[in-house]
């Protein structure tokens, strides 16, 4: 396994654009001049069914095709999946976790679990609400990438924006970009607060 690759695993439901999110992330990394690989976990395409997508980002060519077993970053587009699928498998203590929700981790029932992770790497983002506000549709996928950029720095927000504009056009692009930027801001603020707060 090329240890140098940053591995992201994205969980969503069919129709929420988890696969697109992984692809946009890969394109963003490419635009930042890095190597990237994105691919879905290959389930049947059904609206509402759990979907997993992977993205690896590295400065050297990526050879492996194995699924991401130990993600460096976990993105959860739909928090209801927490009760349905083992989303948390393989998470290491240094991992990042970004969850689309307006609840807290404790409210989500993850209070105990998140104690095993680094607090400054656990962020929630109300991505669906941001999407509804900026885009008019509850599609959190591109939004969360803005948050991921802020949280991990694995891609720049500029590249995220460029990737979105490459894929979408007109109002859809504008809306997604605005929402992604808002998520980016939100996460940066959260990070500041966490840095300022006393450690657990």
């Amino acid at each position: 396994m090329s240890d140098s690759a940053f591995q992201v695993r994205i969980h969503g439901r069919g129709g929420q654009g988890a696969v697109t999110a992984a692809e946009l992330l890969a394109v963003a990394a490419f635009l930042d001049g890095r190597h990237a690989q994105a691919f879905p976990s290959f389930g049947s395409e059904r609206m509402g069914a759990p979907v997993v997508a992977f993205c690896r980002i590295s400065d050297s060519p990526i050879r492996t095709r194995a699924p991401v077993v130990a993600p460096d970053a976990l993105v959860i587009q739909d928090a209801t999946l927490l009760y349905q699928v083992d989303l948390l498998a393989g998470l290491t203590p240094q991992a990042y976790m970004l969850v689309n929700t307006s609840k807290t981790f404790v409210e989500l029932g993850l209070g105990e679990f998140v104690k095993t992770l680094r607090p400054d790497r656990l962020i929630t983002v109300p991505a669906t609400e941001l999407a509804l506000h900026h885009l008019g549709r509850p599609l959190p996928n591109a939004v969360l990438l803005g948050g991921l950029a802020a949280m991990t720095g694995v891609v720049t927000i500029g590249a995220v924006e460029a990737a979105i504009r490459e894929r979408f056009s007109g109002a859809v692009a504008d809306g997604n970009v605005a929402a992604a930027l808002a998520a980016h801001e939100h996460v940066l603020q959260e990070e500041e607060e966490l840095a300022g707060a006393a450690p657990d």
């Binding site: 396994m1 692809e23 990394a29 690989q37 994105a38 879905p40 095709r65 194995a66 077993v69 349905q84």
Partner: protein, 417 residues
């Protein structure tokens, strides 16, 4: 041009650069994105002149390609799995007639049980048909191999299928230097048919051949394949010269110079294997990797050269001959006749089961310790297998196996997350 692009899209654009004149296909997962992309390019005028024909079955798809190719047009189609089998009569027909059709095979398992995910059972089903079968390791190679495929096919009057792992490559978004039109034009001249349906010079194509001549006609097909074997390295070299990167060829080798153990495989799993091998190398184990790019014609001499010095060969393959063992490993063993190495088979990734670094590492450790049996089914759940066997032994009306196994898996996996 360097792009971060879906494998299917890269292939579609590479194919479009080859200026196919007739494209015909029937949709089947996971080939759909390729054909949709080509179709869109024809519709927008980007790929012109080109006739894009939506056909009613895979059998029709290859048949349309046969007619078009016989009439002198550069023809292309794509399929997978069940679709390939549905057209298999035409597959043999195209090869027997010596028509230089290029086809993408988005490798997918063949049912029953129905399965849409990647393995190599489809390609293996037609390995004796007379088609050239090239396996791509990456999407870059997949794109490049299509360009080389048209060249090989038309030079030698033999159909070529480019195999790329379904979903694993077709649906992966990665960096590809998509071939540029001027370079492809320089590499691939217009199609000059060896035989053509032309009212001005009428010929009869497809006559019946009886016992008195059949062997000779078939031998000539064999000779064509041997000529392909000669030509592939040269075509790959010419490609490298023009495009500035290596793609294709007969085999690829990785860290084999001093290797005791060499892992052999086809297609995208080579990437995962190389990562696993690097980790073992860091522990001082001398392991190498050989990728076979030209599976048919099988490059016996090249394989012999690449593997002859090793102590043991581990063939990791995504298909097997039911009731017998490996397919690729049988070919490898035959190529190594008279030489030292022991050849063992590891069947992995059937029906799209992920091949993980951890599992491969286990295989390599066993290989180093000489613990690998002649045939291994990687990550096989023996408990599930045993349950079904016991069920079958206990009662005659044991029910459909696939359903029973799925139920067992669910019940084993049941319980709170």
């Amino acid at each position: 041009m360097l792009r971060q692009i879906e494998g299917s899209r890269a292939v579609a654009e590479a194919v479009a650069c080859c200026r196919p004149e007739v494209v015909c296909a029937y949709p089947i997962s996971p080939q759909t994105h390729i054909i949709e992309a080509v179709g869109a390019m024809v519709r927008s005028g980007e790929l012109s002149p080109c006739e894009f024909i939506n056909v009613e079955s895979e059998f029709a798809a290859l048949s349309v390609a046969i007619g078009a190719s016989a009439a002198g047009a550069r023809a292309y189609t794509a399929t997978a799995s069940q679709g390939l089998l549905f057209m298999v009569e035409a597959v043999y027909n195209a090869a027997g007639l010596g028509l230089p059709i290029v086809m993408t095979l988005a490798n997918r398992a063949v049912g029953a049980p129905i399965n849409i995910w990647n393995d190599h059972s489809d390609a293996m089903a037609v390995r004796d048909s007379g088609w050239v079968q090239l396996f791509a390791e990456t999407n870059q190679e997949a794109a490049d191999l299509h360009v080389q495929a048209f060249r090989l096919a038309e030079e030698l009057s033999v159909p070529v299928m480019v195999c790329m792992d379904g979903f694993v490559l077709t649906h992966a978004v990665e960096r590809v230097d998509v071939p540029d039109q001027p370079l492809v034009d320089a590499f691939l001249p217009p199609f000059e048919p060896r035989q053509v349906l032309d009212p001005d010079e009428p010929v009869s194509i497809g006559a019946m051949v009886g016992p008195e001549a059949f062997e000779e006609v078939r031998y000539l097909a064999h000779a064509r394949q041997l000529a392909v074997l000669e030509r592939i390295p040269a075509v790959a070299d010419e490609f490298a010269e023009l495009f500035g990167r290596r793609s294709g060829g007969l085999v690829s080798t990785y860290r084999t110079e001093d290797a005791d153990i060499v892992v052999v495989a086809l297609g995208s799993v080579l990437g995962t294997i190389k990562d696993a091998v690097d980790e073992r190398r860091e522990r001082g184990e001398r392991i190498g990797v050989v990728g076979i790019t030209s599976f048919r014609p099988f490059p016996r001499d090249a394989v012999r050269r690449a593997l002859g010095r090793a102590r043991s060969i581990v063939v990791v393959e995504k298909a097997f001959s039911i009731g017998f063992g490996g397919v690729l490993s049988t070919d490898v063993a035959m190529a190594l006749q008279g030489l030292n190495p022991v050849v063992v088979t590891v069947v992995a990734g059937l029906g799209g089961r992920p091949i993980t670094g951890a599992s491969l590492d286990g295989v390599l450790v066993d290989a180093v310790e000489d613990r690998l049996p002649p045939l291994t089914f990687l990550d096989l759940d023996e408990d599930i297998v045993r349950r079904e066997l016991e069920r079958m032994a206990a009662t005659r009306r044991s029910g459909p196996t696939a359903e029973n196994v799925l139920r067992d898996i669910r019940s084993v996996a049941a319980g709170p997350v």
